[in-house]
């Protein structure tokens, strides 16, 4: 139990003292999570919309597949990304291995099904009258997409925060693809994993608290989208 209390104090120390390693990890975490969220939302929202909006043959099967992709273990994604961007892999020449870019690629793959699945479910639960109303008001395809997403914004917000939580907390991809290089690709979660592995539980707790503080600030700043 002590290490939790110690962790609390250490968390405050880390932040105040401006510990370089910690701040580097915070920065790395922010960079990759921002990147992967941008890409997964950019791709996932339209995909989720299409799946939820239209009725087509094989929709149910596609949804089941999507649900299965939610169970993609992060280490597995890490391995597959590794296979592609390793020096000998098909994308080896870009040198993405052990870079934040590599992690962002993996996390995008992780977050994409989350965004897509929740968006699809939300759009599916949308009032059918909305569709008709938009068409009759003269909305084009683009307008329909944007307006529908805005109409179900609480659901979309849920998709976003869910994907964000997934990205922020994953270790497998960052570890495998990023390599956990200090001052470079070490993110907060890989740092926690490392400290824990070293038996430095208090440090793990401290870093965990730092991570949640970041998540809290981010969530707070998007909470204006919530219903008042």
């Amino acid at each position: 139990m002590d290490f939790i209390a110690t962790g609390f104090i250490k968390a405050i120390e880390l932040l105040i003292s401006g510990d370089a390693a910690t701040w580097s990890a915070i920065l790395a975490t922010l960079k990759v999570s921002t990147c992967s969220m941008a890409f997964s939302l950019g791709a996932g929202l339209p995909c989720g919309f299409l799946i939820g909006y239209f009725d087509f043959k094989g929709k149910k099967q596609l949804r089941t597949l999507l649900d299965t992709l939610l169970s993609l273990p992060t280490v597995f994604i890490g391995l597959v990304v590794y296979a592609f961007i390793t020096h000998r892999g098909p994308l080896g020449e870009f040198g993405f291995l052990f870079t934040l870019t590599g992690i962002a690629i993996g996390q995008t793959i992780l977050a994409f099904p989350v965004v897509t699945a929740i968006t699809a479910a939300t759009i599916e639960g949308m009032d059918k009258e909305l569709k008709l109303t938009l068409i009759t008001l003269g909305a084009g395809k683009r307008n329909i997409l944007m307006t529908c997403l805005w109409e179900v914004r609480y659901g979309i917000l849920a998709a976003g925060v869910m994907a964000y939580g997934r990205v922020m907390t994953e270790v497998g991809i960052s570890m495998m693809v990023g390599g956990n290089i200090k001052y470079n690709t070490r993110t907060i979660t890989t740092a926690i994993a490392l400290e824990t592995n070293k038996g430095q539980f208090a440090d793990g707790i401290a870093l965990g608290l730092v991570l949640m503080l970041i998540a809290f600030i981010v969530n707070l700043s998007v909470s204006f989208l919530r219903k008042q």
């Binding site: 008709l132 009759t136 008001l137 109409e151």
Partner: protein
């Protein structure tokens, strides 16, 4: 010069799963006309309006708009035709934004505020009081009227209204009528309006279409006698009413099972010439479009009939709502559908 045609429908069938909800062999709607759509629940009014709005494609058949076959996302269709849906859905934003939505889509935002003020006035809502309300802060009729305003502001070429006055008070119904007539007169808008408020519909439309079971009759407000009928030994069928009165109709051609009688063929008893004599009661009398005739509803047990009477006859026979009368028609005047 022949009247310009806005819509031309050819061999339209629309199916929901396996049931046919609409079945129109041929229909034309003239430009600048106001067409009333009358029919019982489930007769296919909404289906027809959705097809006319190109909001869904018919299961088979062709719809021509201004002589061209159009699809759902053709720019002409999307920018010129608008439908007020039966359950108006308001976007989750303010009344102002709801009404502005169509214009914003069209990237036409000049004088937005004053145009919205005008649109709200059309439906009798006060700009100061309503413009900034949220979508959920409206009563049923207010929401309906906001939806109507959102259509009127578009100055559409075609305005399709699905029960625009269903939960609207009489005063506002009159405003909507004025606004609709206005749209036709000022912008040349073609209107098709479905409503169960026959009095209101009759006061606004140039011509009426009756729908029954997905079939359309262009002849106006007709009297429909639904089945079942019993066959007799002669070439007639009969229908027994709840109080024992009997209708006699000529036998239908194959399979048809709904009878229709034109308004003009119904008479309130003066002579004894008809084979059908039904005692009923006048329920209501409404002023017709040009005040030259009176639409009279007569209830004969579970059936209801509509007649067109001239003021003369009303005065001569001392007719008034509540009066018991005898209604008559010839069995041969019946048409089967």
């Amino acid at each position: 010069m022949p009247e310009a045609v806005a819509y031309q429908l050819k061999n339209i069938r629309h199916y929901y799963e396996n049931t046919c909800a609409l079945n129109v062999d041929e229909l034309q709607i003239a430009k600048g006309s106001i067409t009333g759509l009358i029919g019982p629940n489930g007769s296919g009014k909404t289906t027809l309006l959705k097809l006319l709005a190109f909001a869904m494609p018919p299961s088979c058949g062709d719809i021509f708009y201004n002589g061209k076959k159009e699809g759902c996302f053709s720019p002409v269709v999307r920018s010129k035709i608008t439908l007020l849906t039966q359950k108006p859905y308001l976007l989750k934003r303010s009344v102002f934004e709801n009404i502005a939505y169509g214009l914003k889509i069209r990237k036409d935002c000049r004088n937005l505020d004053s145009r919205i003020r005008t649109a709200l006035a059309y439906v009798g809502l006060d700009h100061a009081q309503f413009a900034q309300r949220k979508w959920h802060q409206l009563s049923g009729g207010e929401a309906q009227r906001v939806a109507m305003a959102a259509r009127l502001i578009l100055k559409p070429e075609v305005l399709l209204l699905d029960e625009p006055v269903a939960s609207v008070d009489t005063q506002s119904a009159r405003l909507i009528r004025t606004a609709s007539l206005n749209a036709r007169d000022q912008w040349g808008t073609t209107l098709v309006i479905a409503s169960h408020d026959l009095q209101w519909l009759y006061s606004i439309s140039d011509s009426q279409l009756s729908i029954s079971n997905g079939n359309i009759f262009a002849t106006g407000i007709e009297n429909i006698i639904p089945g079942p009928f019993e066959e007799t030994r002669e070439k007639t069928v009969i229908k027994k009413l709840e109080d024992g009165q009997i209708l006699t109709l000529k036998k239908p051609e194959n399979k048809k099972n709904t009878a229709m009688i034109k308004k003009d063929c119904l008479r309130i008893k003066e002579d004894n010439g008809s084979d059908n004599q039904l005692s009923g009661q006048i329920i209501s009398m409404l002023a017709g479009e040009k005040s030259s005739h009176v639409l009279t509803h007569i209830c004969v047990q579970e059936l209801s009939f509509t007649l067109k009477l001239v003021p003369d006859q009303i005065c001569r026979m001392n007719l008034y709502p509540g009066k018991n009368i005898v209604l008559q028609f010839d069995s041969t005047d019946v048409e089967w559908i």
